[in-house]
């Protein structure tokens, strides 16, 4: 047998050995780690390290919401706290609104917490800074008129990277609902719920979708009641429970029951809200009003 034939045979032998080993090892390798269960490219490529980047993309959504006007790491103290400003209703900002500079954006002239938070630039310290500001976004505006959709890709990526970050789902759903994308909002919230089964925040948002957008109060009631149970399970034993979330859930449930004519049930929910509300006197007034109506025999659904 000459040398080239021997080499070819050796090569074939090695290739066969590789193939045989691959068929033997592949099923074993698949059980070594959890990677085989990964259902997205990002999970496969980044593993758990992807959660580190999730915040970056969530912040990028916030930057987009502010049309590029956003504090840098050097202005971190002035960065917006929490995520509530991301889901503030447009009316909250329009109260003090003047002429909007652009139909796609809404000028934020209100001097409430968020506007003050975002006035991070201050007067320029020198001519370089003063001149440099002509090349950057220096006006605090929020997207509006349907342009809020531009935030959505960053939220979707953030959710892909960190599926346990609940606010990503609630913020995205808020804007999807505002943009009239109810099916997409429901699908995204359901995905969030699969990843965070006990999240009362996601259940609250899902209830709002059913109640306000899909006109399905029965499903909203079920979802919110489940939300209250999840809240009890997760928060009731904490030193500092998330009372605001409980207030929102119970007040919405009370509204729902009042509209359905179940005044006694509405009062029960408001009594629960009384312990969680930042304005208990207003809740108490509502309870008394409902009690008067109940005593007068008025358990008809309100218009």
């Amino acid at each position: 047998m000459n040398r080239p034939v021997r080499h070819s045979l050796l090569l074939l032998l090695l290739a066969s050995a590789c193939f045989t080993l691959a068929t033997l090892l592949q099923p074993r390798v698949a059980t070594w780690g959890q990677r085989h269960a990964a259902d997205s490219l990002m999970k496969v490529v980044l593993g758990d390290g992807r959660r580190l980047f999730a915040n970056h993309f969530f912040v990028q959504a916030d930057v987009t919401f502010h049309s590029g006007y956003y504090p840098s790491i050097f202005d971190r103290d002035q960065a917006p706290k929490g995520t509530r400003h991301l889901t503030a209703s447009p009316e909250d900002h329009e109260e003090h609104d003047h002429e909007p500079p652009d139909p796609g954006r809404e000028k934020d002239e209100d001097h409430s917490g968020h506007a003050c938070e975002m006035s991070f630039l201050g007067p320029p310290r020198d001519w370089i800074e003063a001149f440099g500001r002509r090349f950057m976004v220096t006006e605090h505006t929020h997207l509006k008129g349907g342009k809020e959709r531009e935030m959505l890709p960053w939220l979707k990526i953030s959710a892909e990277l960190d599926p346990q970050r609940v606010e990503t789902y609630t913020v995205a759903s808020y804007w999807l609902r505002n943009l009239g994308k109810f099916q997409e909002a429901e699908r995204f919230l359901r995905e969030g719920l699969r990843n965070n089964p006990k999240s009362y925040e996601i259940l609250f948002e899902l209830g709002r979708l059913y109640n306000e957008n899909l006109q399905d109060p029965n499903r909203a009631r079920n979802v919110w009641e489940l939300g209250v149970r999840c809240w009890d399970e997760r928060e009731s034993k904490k030193d500092k429970p998330d009372l605001l979330a409980l207030d929102e859930l119970t007040v919405h449930l009370a509204d729902l029951e009042e509209k359905a004519g179940n005044l006694a049930r509405a009062i029960e929910w408001l009594q629960r809200a009384l312990r969680a509300s930042p304005r208990p006197e207003a809740v108490q007034e509502r309870i008394e009003d409902l009690q008067r109506r109940l005593a007068a025999g008025g358990s008809r659904p309100s218009p």
Partner: protein
């Protein structure tokens, strides 16, 4: 001037003979088109994430092309010993520096033109609209900024021994200025003396490349810049480029050519 143009022409020919530009362009195009093929929440009108990614890739590619092309010009001439017949033409050392700069800057400009054309097509196809003024201002300021980067890399090629070390240092300096330049005064104020004066001096000395990055204005459809601001920024870049080229010429004038 003809000599300078002839030298510049050689550098431009080098750009399209080498594969750097094609690789970077194809990478940018493929990544942008891949991202563009994803539809988020069944809304095909969402565009800013795509523009953002495309512009970021363009900025990275433009910096890579400008720095790597410039960093190897004079070291390659010396290594191949083509600098001797070049200077025997006769071509002065000043003309070599000017020619190399012009060639690298124009080559970067041509590459940038192709990249921005692609960006314009992507942007217009998504939004069915193109803010032409803002788009041209972004292109112009980007190219003007590259003049400073090319000047810096040319000066570096006469200071540092190898093109690789020069390119690395240039990348660090340029990225450092782009990321931190705007905030150095803020950092300086938080330092005790004499560090405060040192940092503040650096702040005033460095060319503020971050001014030329107007991606946010382009991405979020803000109104265009005033033309006087563009002109002033161009003058500022011109002064820094002239300083860097003067420094490169002074160094090159005294530099022994044999390795």
């Amino acid at each position: 001037m003809n000599t300078v143009w002839a030298l510049a022409g050689v550098v431009i020919k080098e750009l399209y003979r080498r594969k750097d530009f094609y690789v970077l362009f194809v990478l940018t195009a493929v990544m942008t088109l891949l991202m563009g093929s994803i539809t988020f929440f069944n809304d095909p009108r969402i565009a800013s994430y795509l523009k953002d990614i495309c512009l970021l890739l363009i900025w990275i590619s433009a910096l890579v092309i400008a720095i790597t092309t410039t960093a190897r010009q004079i070291p390659a001439e010396r290594e191949n010993r083509t600098i001797f017949p070049l200077l025997a033409k006769p071509v002065t050392r000043g003309q070599v520096v000017a020619g190399k700069f012009l060639g690298c800057w124009l080559a970067s400009g041509i590459a940038l033109g192709v990249f921005y054309l692609f960006f314009g097509v992507v942007s217009a196809s998504r939004e069915h609209d193109l803010a032409v003024i803002q788009y041209l201002q972004a292109l112009w300021l980007h190219w003007v900024m590259l003049a400073i980067v090319v000047g810096l890399a040319l000066l570096g090629s006469l200071v540092f021994a190898a093109p690789s070390s020069n390119a690395t240092i240039c990348f660090i300096v340029v990225l450092g200025i782009l990321l931190l330049g705007r905030h150095l005064n803020q950092v300086a104020l938080q330092q005790p003396e004499p560090l405060r004066t040192v940092v503040y001096s650096i702040y005033f000395l460095i060319p503020h490349l971050e001014w030329y990055d107007i991606r946010d204005l382009l991405l979020y459809d803000h109104p265009g810049l005033r033309w006087t601001d563009c002109l002033l920024a161009t003058l500022y870049a011109g002064v820094y480029t002239a300083m860097l080229l003067l420094g490169a010429w002074l160094l090159f004038r005294r530099k022994p050519l044999h390795a």
